[in-house]
Symmetry: D2
Subunit: 138 residues, 4 copies
Amino acid sequence: MNDFTLQQKVRFQHCDPAGIVFYPRYFEMVTATVEEWFAQRLGVPFETLHGPLGAAVPTVSMTVEFNAPSRLGDVLEFRLRPARIGRSSVGLSIAAYCGAEKRLSMESTLVFTRAGASKPDSWPEDLRARISREIDGQ
Amino acid sequence: MNDFTLQQKVRFQHCDPAGIVFYPRYFEMVTATVEEWFAQRLGVPFETLHGPLGAAVPTVSMTVEFNAPSRLGDVLEFRLRPARIGRSSVGLSIAAYCGAEKRLSMESTLVFTRAGASKPDSWPEDLRARISREIDGQ
Amino acid sequence: MNDFTLQQKVRFQHCDPAGIVFYPRYFEMVTATVEEWFAQRLGVPFETLHGPLGAAVPTVSMTVEFNAPSRLGDVLEFRLRPARIGRSSVGLSIAAYCGAEKRLSMESTLVFTRAGASKPDSWPEDLRARISREIDGQ
Amino acid sequence: MNDFTLQQKVRFQHCDPAGIVFYPRYFEMVTATVEEWFAQRLGVPFETLHGPLGAAVPTVSMTVEFNAPSRLGDVLEFRLRPARIGRSSVGLSIAAYCGAEKRLSMESTLVFTRAGASKPDSWPEDLRARISREIDGQ
């Protein structure tokens, strides 16, 4: 299966006094990419995950490189690919490109949690199956 | 001319612990709407306005009603209509709807400024002409 | 009783490519001011309000003037004064100053709501009493 | 020399629908910590760095662990320690604690750049000297 992709435009709200994307704003775009991957590829929109399912998928660790700065008006393509699945975790490889230029690359680990619980919980079977299919299909 | 419209989805980043849009985040969506209106209707993308033109269009006043709360996953339609133009200002009427339900309505005033100047400046003639056409064409 | 005041420094995260505070960020500072007013003057920290009390105080309307731009490093004094209380609402007058210069002035209306309810609810008696005392004591 | 520390309270603006800090907001707090370190320990406030000096210190890479979630009202102590200095870079070790509990730990690399330049530039001598003293004095 191909990488999941989402186009996002660099807006005024993302840019700092140096005229480039303020790096915390990249992670809002990354979160939007993860949201759309859950909705479009895994069949579980975040409003379902955080609502009826009473769950969440917090990020527990990440390694990031900001390869080149992005500027107001740039259209970035975010590419997401699941790299591995654990009992309660998933490892994601995410990159952002403007044309052929890589702007950001990251590896992050998310865990499945249930509201009120203090520990990560096992993936529900259907979610596990869908994520595994995404990994195997690559 | 019809209202300028922009669809925007309520994302995780917009929502607060009460599960609804945290109102400052609405103004990021409003700014995105103004940006696209400048780009698509006035022919001046924000990257041109803030870059080569050395200008900005800060908001100087606004009146806002938050008519009903918005939730994660809602798709909002932002509608923008210029209401009046002054020497250096423009008055905008902006509303956000989720289906038929109004979520936000606001009147705001923006002014044209040049980098380094302490006072608003007159609209450049081409921008004034385009904004006026948007108002007259309604 | 005197206005409630909170000093907040304009940080990198608040500023836009024009080098001034991006107006949605002002409302994060305004919310911090309201939070501290609830905690310090009304005796109900937001973590209690949104946690054990299962309540929220969303903003339903506001009128704002951005009197002058604020820049990176400016220390702003936010001043909050409750102007009126209704069955389930409170009207607040808020201003931000940098030294003697007014940067922002606003009137906003907040309402008391309970989690899951679709309508505003009456103020709990103790909160009503404390807000009223803040108004009368001025 | 001791770690540089900055207390920051988890506010409503930082929290997500799961009631915990939305991780991109941590990086706003991290940036505030870096700002205050530059101002208080290196003697170069960000308004000087980005203004008269015409410079910036973008983050080029980082590794982060979110050790435990933070909630509304938590007071976090951010601890910053420079770990190494290069020709144009500095490596920072940053952690956030709530009491004795570690919430976040990260290693990040920042580079010194001049406005308009496409490559990192050498540290000005005074900044290099101050950073080196911070490292040696530990």
